[in-house]
């Protein structure tokens, strides 16, 4: 029989015969490895996942027309969006125009209202978003000011800027020439607690028919899943590539996100480090206890003439085998934990880090090896006769 075969048989037989103890050791290593893999994976993925949550605060980048242009066309905006490498979660374009209701000035905003679900999830609407042509969403302040309820009809008048210039006279009916009237039905009242409450929102198509021209947009809001630095880089790129668009970071959102996110990452990092350190020590003490128990066996082997080296080799072999199996099991269980966290907390899947499997196994091997060396060395140092006598 070859030496290596014999060695392997000794190790497996030892594990098989001492099932319950080995199970204890394996369990310890597996738990340690699971926690290592799970926490590291959660820590690694957290900034991205939490970053998505922060998008709820609203747009972190806006496009406004550059100094030399009056408004942005949808093509220009699309070109600018294409320049951003990071994921653009959502975008919405607004076109603001002054109009009047019974000669009282208002601001009408034209946009693709369907997109507001994604860009402004915090909007609370009493009623519905406009879905048919001729419907308008009214900000709460304006609704109170004009006493509007859902279902009411409101006449909005628009005076084209060029018409205003020539209409220096008022015709016999007291009407300014060129003024466009259109009736809108209130489909919903908007409550945000912010400046949006002061506006009227209509669909982009209605806006076009109201002003009688193709829309150019005044503001585009974007929610980009990126940190402040990446955003700044994207903004610089856009300023160079698309002349009509001037990108700006919404500092309130980007700066605050950086602050809060770095705190949260630091929290999870510290928790991970402390947990790992403590669990690894626990794993080591358990392994130590399992090995110490076998002092008698070590003494017997020495008495039979085994060298210290061969005893160490065998114990290490056993320990490393357990470490390997535990590490492998642990890295998958750890992924299970990370997956659980990500589906329960963030409602999204997690990216599996293949590199974590070898890392987990190596750490598990190192901890078990370290935990074996000390007690085995202590046992081999002692006179076998004393150990066998049980002293």
């Amino acid at each position: 029989m070859k030496r290596s075969t014999m060695y392997f048989r000794m190790i497996t037989a030892s594990i098989a015969r001492r099932k319950s103890r080995m199970l204890v050791a394996l369990l310890a290593v597996t738990v340690g490895a699971t926690i290592l893999a799970g926490l590291v994976m959660v820590y690694y993925d957290m900034p991205r996942q939490m970053g998505e949550q922060f998008l709820a605060y609203g747009a972190n980048m806006i496009f406004v027309p550059s100094a030399e242009s009056d408004g942005m066309t949808i093509e220009e905006i699309q070109d600018a969006i294409d320049e951003i490498d990071a994921g653009v979660e959502s975008d919405i374009e607004y076109c603001y125009e002054s109009a009047t209701i019974n000669d009282a000035p208002i601001i009408v905003t034209g946009c693709d209202l369907g997109k507001t679900y994604a860009t402004s999830p915090y909007w609370q609407i009493d009623g519905e978003l406009p879905s048919a042509p001729g419907e308008v969403l009214v900000g709460l302040e304006q609704a109170e000011f004009f006493s509007l309820k859902v279902g009411d009809t409101v006449p909005i008048a628009y005076l084209p800027p060029d018409a205003a210039a020539v209409a220096n006279g008022v015709n016999l009916n007291g009407e300014i020439e060129g003024k466009v009237f259109q009736d809108f039905t209130v489909s919903g009242i908007l409550d945000t607690g912010g400046s949006e409450e002061g506006y009227f929102f209509i669909s982009a198509e209605d806006m076009e028919s109201l002003i009688g021209a193709e829309l150019t947009y005044d503001v585009a809001e974007l929610r980009v899943n990126a940190d402040a630095q990446e955003l700044q880089e994207a903004a610089d790129k856009i300023s160079d590539a698309v002349p009509g668009v001037s990108p700006q970071l919404v500092k309130r959102i980007t700066e605050s996100q950086t602050t809060v996110l770095s705190k949260l990452s630091a929290l999870v990092l510290l928790v991970t480090i402390i947990t790992l350190a403590l669990i690894m020590i626990t794993v080591a003490t358990t392994m130590t206890a399992v090995v110490t128990e076998r002092r008698r066996e070590i003494g017997l082997r020495k008495a039979l003439g085994a060298s210290d080296g061969s005893i160490m080799l065998e114990f290490m072999g056993e320990g490393l085998l357990i470490g390997f199996i535990g590490g492998l099991l642990g890295s998958f269980l750890g992924f299970g934990f990370a997956y659980l966290v990500s589906t329960n907390v963030f409602n999204s899947t997690i990216t599996f880090l293949p590199a974590l499997i070898p890392i987990t196994i190596i750490v598990a091997l190192a901890v078990t090896a370290l935990a074996c060396i000390l007690p085995v060395r202590n046992a081999t140092k002692v006179d076998p006769a004393l150990v066998l006598k049980g002293e």
Partner: protein, 429 residues
């Protein structure tokens, strides 16, 4: 005799017992640290989220509509109504006063600066408040506009008397006027005009970049609105909204008495708004949904994340402890065999082992609790720059955890060992 045997084991097997106590201490410290952090993380993150600015604005009834409309027309705006400055102190007297971490009054005036029409805003910067409750607080825009970058010069400092006659200018306006920090700016308001030194230029990334910020009193004098303010921004720690608070936000009078009580005494953003309206005459307190709702979502997620990590750490330390105890009980099969051989009852042996383990667990648990609380403080100071409060829930949880884990680790092992034939065990098989 029983006591002497236990004392004997604990003294003679010092090394082993120390190792068990050490492991239990590690497990207990991990449990303590994680539980303490988990219970406190909500408050801590809530405070961090305040960097997003205020979540409540208090304005006079109808004022904002008028102001918005005037802006459309491009005329100089005179809001129809104001709030009273002397009522500001009431903000810190409401039921949820301790949840209000910051607030600042604002007054807006349309002035002419170096020949250009601009909006000038008066506010607090680091206004020191000594409240009747004994609380000391520095409130104002320095903390409520934490995302502003002062690109030149410095913030206005209210503790410096000379700063009462100085101003800060937005970066866009500074460019337009060609002024920088240290220059003086000629400002003429509706009542008064004068020349004021610019102490700093800020970049806000919004409309404020085209405005002038000055101390509250200065703007009031310039525009002749002494004792009046146009809005108050409030930063409050709030509980995430639920169905009750949404229902209450629409109309609190429609709630039943019990519901009203619950709502009023919970720190929902809507109940804080309601209480603010009660103490400030003719005001409307509005929740900024964008901030309030996002805060709630992020808070929930963080707490859930910490809960799951805590559960993993607890399970890990529980398995670690019970593992070691199992291993160390099994290790003593010879001793137990010997006890059985000389006629000890199973029950006596179990009692002996259990009492030993529990003594070790209590010692280890107590040490672990102290160390774990230390770990929690390290986390608190490193991450949040403040101490972690010890929730009263943590102590019983850790005690129960340690006892259950110790028993769960020792009982199965003791039963296995007792089942062994003493002759065989002593023979060493």
């Amino acid at each position: 005799m029983f006591l002497r045997m236990i004392a004997g084991v604990l003294l003679r097997q010092k090394g082993k017992m120390f190792m068990i106590a050490f492991t239990i201490a590690l497990g207990a410290s991990l449990a303590t640290a994680m539980l303490a952090v988990m219970f406190d993380v909500g408050d801590k993150v809530n405070a961090e989220l305040k960097t997003y600015g205020s979540n409540i604005t208090v304005v006079p009834k109808e004022a904002s509509v008028v102001s918005d409309l005037y802006e459309v027309e491009g005329a100089s705006s005179v809001p129809a109504s104001y709030l009273r400055e002397d009522e500001l102190g009431n903000v810190k007297t409401i039921f949820w006063a301790f949840n209000i971490v910051d607030f600042a009054p604002f007054i807006e005036a349309h002035v002419n600066a170096n020949g250009q029409d601009v909006t000038m805003v008066g506010s607090w910067y680091n206004h020191h408040l000594s409240l009747p409750t004994g609380e000391e607080l520095d409130a104002g825009v320095v903390s409520m506009r934490s995302w502003w970058d002062v690109v030149e010069g410095r913030w206005l400092d209210e503790s410096v008397a000379a700063d009462a006659e100085k101003v800060m200018v937005g970066v866009a306006l500074a460019d337009e006027l060609g002024v920088s920090a240290g220059d003086s700016l000629k400002v003429s308001g509706s009542e008064l005009s004068g020349s004021y030194e610019i102490v700093g230029v800020y970049e806000a990334g919004g409309d404020e970049d085209g405005q002038i910020y000055a101390p509250l009193d200065l703007v009031q004098e310039l525009s002749g609105t002494e004792g009046l303010i146009s809005s108050v921004e409030v930063s409050a720690l709030t509980t995430p909204d639920n169905d009750l608070s949404r229902q209450a936000a629409k109309d609190p009078t429609k709630l039943t008495a019990a519901q009203y009580e619950t709502w009023y005494c919970t720190a929902y953003v809507s109940s804080i708004c309601y209480q603010l309206q009660e103490v400030i005459t003719d005001s409307v307190a509005k929740a900024k949904r964008q901030v309030a709702e996002s805060e709630g979502a992020i808070l929930d997620k963080t707490q859930l994340l910490m809960l799951l990590i805590t559960v993993l750490a607890l399970v890990g330390s529980a398995l670690g402890i019970s593992n070691l105890i199992t291993a160390s009980v099994m290790e003593r099969s010879q001793e137990i065999g010997l006890l059985k051989a000389i006629g000890a009852h199973d029950r006596a042996i179990s009692a002996l082992l259990l009492v030993e383990m529990i003594i070790v667990a209590i010692v280890g648990g107590a040490v672990g609790f102290a160390v774990g609380f230390g770990f929690a403080q390290i986390i608190g100071y490193t991450v949040f720059n403040s101490s972690i409060a010890l929730s009263p829930m943590v102590i019983p949880l850790v005690v129960v955890l340690v006892i259950v884990v110790t028993l769960a680790g020792s009982i199965p092992a003791i039963r296995t060992v007792l089942r062994l034939d003493p002759a065989e065990v002593l023979h060493g098989r």
